[in-house]
Amino acid sequence: MSSRGEDVFPGGIDPRVLPDMTLREQSAHRVAATVTAVFAVAGMVWVLLTDVLVYAVSNSRVLIARIENDKGWIFISLASLLLYAVTFRGAARLDRVRRLTAAVIRSIGDGVLLLGHDRKVAYANPAALKMLECSASELIGMDVGAFAKRFRVSYPNGALVPPERYVSQRAFDEGGPLRYKAILYPNDGTELVMISTAAGVRMHVGEPAMWVVSVMHDITDSDRLDRIRDHFFASAAHSLKTPVAIVKADVQALLPTASPRQQKVAASIDRQCDRIDRLVQNLLVLARARSRTLQFHQREIALRPLVERIAGEGVWSYRHDVRLDVTGSPSLHADEERLGLAIRNLMYEATRLSAADSPLTLLARPEGDRVAVGVRYQPIPWADQISHVYGEYDDIGIGRSVAATIVEGHGGSISEDYDEAQTTSWIRLPAETGVHA
């Protein structure tokens, strides 16, 4: 309560003006029964008391008849006034709720479409009309086929969304809320990127949806910013590779005439070039994955030459005893460049989490209908603290995330095996084209 005795409500909104959202259908019966009961009791009391009073003050039949007549008129007048007051109050409340609801929906910044039981658009708020660049008369009554023809709804990858897969149609059968990201083309040259959510309206649980409410949230600007950022990210990462390539080649060109000390420094620069290159490749994959443009150029590859090449890279062997353990000649259907990056990421992780001069084993073997690639190492005692200290966005965390993205993109998985002395990170991939033991 305020100092002047006025009610204070959160946000200044009196909850009594808001529609009751609880769907309590018995409330109408209760109100009607209460009013009727009050009216009946009041009427009976009126008749009883006035009759007692009349017969107490007069014995004249004529006078009593006139008073009874007047009583009837008074009763009709009071009942009419009461009926008016009750009806007015109810109608005014309904009208207030209706106008309030309409005003709220009109003021929603997101586009709101209401679909009737015939699955046609029954209502569109001003934001929806503005987003779809059409008039209410064009949109109201439009069925899903006409909507699809007019607005060409597509997934972010460009594939058209079949009309029966629109969330506004699925919500009739599946309930919801359902959600997806889609692109609409209201007019030639206009692209509208949106998150569309739809839910069926049911008065009782389990009943078929009477209507569907579909909300369109315009994310065109933020999506464009995302794409610009991802494009910038990818371009910047690509541009970084050229100077890294030059530095690496320059350093290696110096080696033949370098002193032992210079060779040691040059080797360190060379390794850091490899590290930057791997980080750049990881950032490229992350950018592609974020913008949903990550592609896998899969073909049948033999695993042995790939793991032999990776195990032979000097970036691992300068401080670890690198070993190779390949069983059979496993082959698989994969993007060799991406898979190589995933394996190198796990190798790098293993070098960071294990002691210098400890063994580092790269394994490859067929496992039934799968192919397994493992990196086995002896973890340092504080290995589990590394990610806590450096966070998930250091090069180990990014590398692990990218490895998972690549492996899962191939239909595989990453897991860990532990025993007392060693840890093995496993990449398991389906061997679609068979395993040759």
């Binding site: 050229t242 890294v244 390539a245 690496k248 080649a249 290696q252 070039c273 490749q281 460049e337």
Partner: protein
Amino acid sequence: MSRTNDVLIVDDDPDMIEVIELVLHDAGYATRGALNGRQALDAVAAAMPALIVLDMLMPVMDGWQFAREFHARYGPHTPIVVATAAEHVDTRGGEIGAADVLPKPFEVSDLLRVVARHVQTPRPLDA
């Protein structure tokens, strides 16, 4: 006229050309550089190299345009090695019918191995 040890390096980055020339020259190869596909076509017109090391993204004339024009004029006999920082270097190489690919950054040993695969007889090192 083809020069047996002549490697033409086509790259829009002069530093990249310089370091590849340095490495190949030390290994006994003759080298020339071109900053784009147009310059490379002029260099080829002057003398046919034994091998072309080709970057793909370049101004004036990119690697795809150069390869198309080069093959149209001279046929497929001179090998091209694609050296690019782009992803999926194998695909890039396949697009232009390259004899080999060299993803950037590369190991100098890989560069020498790839070049040696296509240019058989390096001249003796200068003193």
